[in-house]
Symmetry: C2
Amino acid sequence: MDNLLSQLPGYALRRAANTAMTRFTAMLAPLDVKITEAAIFMLIRESANLTSSKIGKELEIQRANMVPMLQRMEDAGWIQREAIDGKSQAIVLTAEGRTKAEEVAQTVEQFEAELLHRVPAQHRKHLLPALNAIWN
Amino acid sequence: MDNLLSQLPGYALRRAANTAMTRFTAMLAPLDVKITEAAIFMLIRESANLTSSKIGKELEIQRANMVPMLQRMEDAGWIQREAIDGKSQAIVLTAEGRTKAEEVAQTVEQFEAELLHRVPAQHRKHLLPALNAIWN
DNA sequence: ATTTATTGCTATCGTCAATAGCATTAATCA
DNA sequence: TGATTAATGCTATTGACGATAGCAATAAAT
């Protein structure tokens, strides 16, 4: 009965993403970090002088939806805003935020390793290029 | 800058699913059918005497979340409930629902074909087993 | 200098999934 | 058989994430 739907790549994609993200959510929970915040951490950890809209463009998160994310991250003491000009503000990690970012990076690494491990070896190297072809 | 995250299978999985589901949503919109409803249609189209909780188990949708779905599908005139015993009810397609189910199935086929087409040929046959390994 | 684009924001909505709890009925087993 | 346990369908609420429409201020472009 399940055969039916699990023959469909689109359905499998949805289910796989769901399963993986549930797992990732659980792994991030002890850090009190959400998935999207983890992505933001990964980004600003490596690049300085990113603004909200630059991050949004990169992660394809709309400006309007960046606001509460960054607000929470600021309230948590992880990021600070620094005026670039009268319009733009750089999103900068605080000391606490840097620590959190490293913990996140470590969790990401673990999560990604687990994920790949689930995929049979003969399919493993095809996963990333296949997925990237779907959204790029 | 994107290189960073798009090296991560988990991130790619999330983005790919997102892109694909956005596309699927758009394709279903003219039918006034939502993604989860499409899955339900695909299921009850092929199996008779499914109950809400059987569908839920199959699709891993919680009982509580099945309620508004089936309610909407009933209000739309696509399904009917038929008592099996004092506790369970079969979810049955109406005539209108059968038509809708066929349209959905056709849309699914189109969507799945498009999706596979996006994946470079050399990775194509690996996608389904890789994804199924992740959630199964 | 004026028009256009960008930035950050408010407010609101939609989809999907999760949790906790409840009443009714069916199934189990002592 | 009678009492316990499990299953079914439901209400109510919450959370994460994404989408749209619109606004005021500022920067960039012509």
